[in-house]
Amino acid sequence: MDDSFPLVTVVTPSYNQGRFIRETILSVLEQDYPNIEYIIMDGASSDETAAVAAEFEGRLTFISEPDRGQSHAINKGFALARGEIVAWLNSDDVFLPGAVRHAVEALQNDPDCGACYGEGYQIDIDGNVISRFGPTRKFDLWMLLHLSDYILQQTVFFRRAVFDRVGWLDESLHYGMDWEILMRIGLQYPLRYIPEYMGAIREYAAAKTAAGGAPRVRELIKIMRRHTGAMLPPGAILYGLPTYTRIWNDRIEALCPAPLRPFGARLQRVLERLNAQSSGLTLRYAQGIFSDGWASTRARLVMQPPRARYLEVDVSLPEWAPLDGQRIRFRSAGRVFAEERFGNGDFTIPVAIPRDSWDAPFFFSIDAERFFRPEREPGHRELRKLSYLLRDVRYSS
């Protein structure tokens, strides 16, 4: 096989998912890519899994033996993998046609990135599309670490070599090992977003994501703390509130005596509304950078360990914004390391990176002195504090 078709290894960890696994296997084997190694690491299932796998003998490797859980099974599969690109696909999920081809192209076109991911769907128990996986967005390390796992694991392909640097999946984790490994990789390598639909996650009551409850939330918060150092990362709100709202509402349902049901139902609605509002506000305001490019008075960023000694920051101030003479301060580890001032127009501003940040992921914020709240309509101002347009932040040699 020539270099244009590098070997891709797909590992499926499986345990008693016989009713879904045929669909999963077919979604891998029917990819329009000629060089795939497929390994199923089964945890000694007692259902029809082995029989289904036997139908594809010669086209995949099926290993069935007891393991210590999903992460252990994936790690064992990756250890056997011969491919320079690897992925895992759970036994109830599927790849979409063209996924492997898109991934190989992306990794070949971007030699610096450690992994790639794309768009995906949520599907029901019968394989029907419910919706697009909504959180997916272009790679932003700060959001990945602090806020949400917006990357659909079923679309992720890794360079095998990155595991030598960041290590395998954390086998102590049960719910967030896919997020955690993406955090570790993201802290060292850029992740490449592919605007193509590549995978689907099956949503049903027994699925781990849906059934995780409070233990899942606690594990996710632990993961965020591990990589951000923040006691209460904003993602805690995003993952905690819906789960605890569900738990509280179930309790209200169970504990409310019949005469108080209307009151209980009202309380449930209030909790749901609070949850929705808080999640929305957290998503919108936590980073201080809005989807239209405006930055607030504090914009928070994280970048991989510097590959250069300075940053280039593209900012702009439109003529109509009353912010001429904006002053911004770059702050890391509690101290200001650069200060800049700019007027109306577009500017590329170079900023020297502090020496003590040269070898580690670079956490920093940009604090702006001034802001305005634009008038959305007469008499109504936006809640957002707008300070300047942040077009891009990158390392530059």
Partner: protein
């Protein structure tokens, strides 16, 4: 520097902005505006707001001036220090450098920026060899540095501090053959590689002489002085010389000074003090006048002369500005004078016939100089360095 579509160049110049009319600022502005068509240009300058300012009159930071990205750095301190030289002996290198710093305006932050971020730029253009930023800022980036010396035949050029300095730049851009000859004479052992890239100008098509004449009540043939109204530019002498000339019944009864004032403006018969012009007023004035007078004795190249010729007007220049006299010779576009008597003679020579002839010859010269041909010279030289440095 991969990923950038355009090469990135920076001009290092002591002062820059609408209120600056010194040769270095004007040249940097003229070039930077045009470089923008094919490069990413930054002006690295100080917070000194005008030609006379000695303090941080403008805020530090990034701004756009006529669309050009300008980055200002705060001055170290108001440059009031005076370093006195003993006329009988060569000052020490330390004294010379102290003189240069004190001469100002000087920002060590600008020099720090060059040291820290030098690799960001494909090339630097240091304007004016006498600028402390050129002297202290060029060495850290000498591999990609060009010097636009703006050298005059002046005592400071003899200082020993320049001996090593003029070895450093990657290349030079000279304003005139006279400037190049002057420097080759001063530094006979140096190669001083670089082209002569005299600039041309874009003429303004909508210039209206009547608009200017009506606005300022100028009904007779008149002389025009264009630029900062400053004793250093010869304006005091011109005022006195013109007053004598007019009193003696000279042909031209009016003289309009158009520019930012840096001296007292005494009321005199026939003298019109007109403030710093916008571009339209400037070209209106050029279209309306009959002769442009350039009394400055220290120029390596006169943009004003080029502007006058572009507007088909003859110039009268100080004979002490050898490079400008040479410019006039090459253009056949003007006359020169040494003192008040010669000025009177020259002006009386300039009847309508001679004015038109000199104006047309000057225009032809300006058209040949063109705007784009010298810019192409810059572009080619800079691209050569970019390629040598591993750029595009």
């Amino acid at each position: 520097m991969s990923g950038r579509a355009l090469p990135r160049y920076a001009f290092a110049v002591a002062r820059y902005g609408a209120e600056c009319a010194n040769e270095a600022s004007l040249l940097a502005a003229h070039l930077a505006r045009r470089f923008q068509a094919w490069s990413d240009v930054e002006i690295l300058t100080t917070c000194a707001g005008s030609d006379r300012s000695t303090g941080n009159e403008l805020p530090a930071g990034h701004s756009r001036v006529d669309g050009v990205h300008v980055r200002r750095f705060a001055l170290d301190r108001p440059h009031r220090a005076r370093v006195r030289f003993n006329a009988e002996s060569e000052p020490s290198l330390e004294d010379q450098e102290a003189w240069l710093r004190a001469r100002g305006p000087f920002s060590s932050r600008l020099v720090d920026h060059l040291e820290t971020f030098g690799n960001r730029y494909d090339a630097f253009l240091f304007v004016d060899y006498r600028s402390a930023h050129s002297y202290f800022g060029l060495p850290p980036v000498e591999e990609r540095a060009f010097l636009l010396p703006l050298a005059h035949d002046e005592a400071q050029l003899g200082f020993s501090m320049w001996d090593r300095f003029f070895e450093r730049p990657r290349g030079f851009f000279f304003n005139s053959p006279e400037e190049e000859r002057l420097l080759q004479t001063r530094f006979p052992n140096l190669a001083l590689p670089g082209p002569i890239a005299s600039l041309g100008l874009d003429a303004r098509a909508d210039a209206d002489p009547n608009r200017f004449r009506e606005a300022y009540g100028l009904r007779h043939p008149f002389l025009l002085y264009l630029g900062p109204i400053d004793p250093a530019k010869g304006c005091e002498h011109l005022l006195e010389d013109f007053t004598s000339y007019r009193a003696a019944g000279g042909r031209y009864r009016d003289l309009a000074f158009v520019g930012e004032a840096h001296m007292s403006l005494p009321p005199r018969d026939g003298v019109h003090w007109i403030g710093g012009p916008d571009e339209r007023t400037k070209w209106d004035a050029l279209a309306a006048c009959d002769v442009v007078v350039i009394p400055s004795r220290n120029e390596t190249f006169s943009l004003t002369a080029l502007e006058a010729w572009t507007a088909m007007k003859p110039v009268v220049v100080s004979s002490q500005a050898a490079a400008v006299v040479s410019q006039c010779r090459r253009a056949n576009g003007g006359l020169w004078y040494a003192d008040a008597d010669e000025l009177a003679v020259v002006l009386d020579l300039l009847d309508e016939d001679l004015r038109v002839r000199l104006g047309m010859q000057g225009r032809s010269f300006a058209a040949q100089a063109g705007v784009w041909s010298p810019l192409e010279t810059y572009r080619a030289e800079l691209a050569r360095v970019g390629a040598a440095n591993g750029g595009r």
